[in-house]
Symmetry: C2
Subunit: 208 residues, 2 copies
């Protein structure tokens, strides 16, 4: 994962923050972060935050989670509606940039060029994540969504093993399918000898 300050010295980083009017904020656990501006880019220096969705029953599902060095904001994952919010799960320290500000700057220092390249890499990473999810969501059946998800994950790890990064409930939300329907389909996949499941490790028994 690309670090936004990669290959920039501490000294130049300070200059950059000053020029781009970036501000650092501190949040306590369980605070809610509200981002006013669609162009705001948050960088987590320390801590843990998550975007959660609360449905009409009050059930919380995880939409996304961000840890140290990760970048978030409406540019990357828009807060879709008023049932979604950004919550601080561990005390956190966050720097906020403004994307317009970054682009409008007429700096021509080499550390500024490096910063632009870093952001380009980060946005590209985000784009690839979206592409992955779209590849999955453009499959019509639950079975094909699961198989596409497995294919992508297995490819990433370069093996026939898939290690789920979240629990089944959150996986179903990510795939936009009903959890129980997913469990049913997984049972069929097991019965038909396509996969084996041991905890969070899934083994693919077919040719990749």
């Amino acid at each position: 994962m690309q670090n936004i300050f990669a290959n920039i010295s501490e000294n130049n980083k300070c200059k950059l923050l000053k020029t781009l009017e970036a501000n650092t904020y501190y949040y306590k656990k369980n605070e809610e972060i509200s981002i006013k501006n669609d162009n705001t880019i948050g960088v987590i220096l320390s801590g843990l935050i998550e975007i959660i969705k609360i449905d009409y029953d009050g059930n919380r599902t995880l939409v996304e989670e961000y840890v140290e060095d990760e970048v978030f904001g409406n540019m990357f994952t828009p807060i879709q509606s008023n049932d979604e919010s950004i919550m601080v799960r561990d005390d956190s320290k966050i720097i906020f940039f403004d994307f317009e500000e970054i682009l409008d700057s007429s700096l021509d220092k080499s550390y500024y060029i490096q910063f632009l390249k870093n952001i380009l890499l980060i946005i590209n990473e985000k784009l690839q994540e979206k592409n992955e999810r779209l590849e999955i969501l453009t499959k019509k059946s639950i079975r094909n969504k699961l198989l596409e998800y497995f294919r992508i994950m297995a490819k990433k790890h370069g093996s026939k093993y898939v290690y789920l990064p979240f629990n089944f409930t959150d996986l179903a939300a990510y795939l936009v399918i009903d959890r129980s329907a997913m469990a049913r389909e997984m049972k069929y996949l097991k019965e038909e000898g396509f996969i084996e499941i041991k905890g969070k490790r899934i083994t693919l028994l077919y040719d990749l």
Copy 2:
């Protein structure tokens, strides 16, 4: 839509192309373009190309279409499988860059900085397109997908009118739903007084 050469003089553009080893190719109508490298970025100088998907029956559906000044490549819309291909619809002139090459360059000219900023804006535009489609595809019912699509389109035009940029068959493919099921749901929406349809113009009759 952002132009990749915006605010770069013809002269500097030439230097850029040379430094980044960008090559220009000419394609005839109905040729197929094959992109070897995942990092390749194509810029259409003139002409028209499209990504099409051919299903087992030989039916072609439009995945995406690119015209003059637009940018394409696997970074932006990955060719998912061997049933998708990039076809040239009108004679076209295309420049190819390599994303790695662009980032690895140690140029520090102002026109290079401008070029990086332009690409940043383009990738950001692509990211927003993906976010939009994801907002739609994360809705569970056909009705909610349609309403979300209408909401986004109406917001863009700043009015209660939605002008479909493609035909209903392609719209169904974009929303990943069955065409006839979509037609049925649209009929219900009309009957229930939510929308009015006249050709490619849809009027939203509810509060936005």
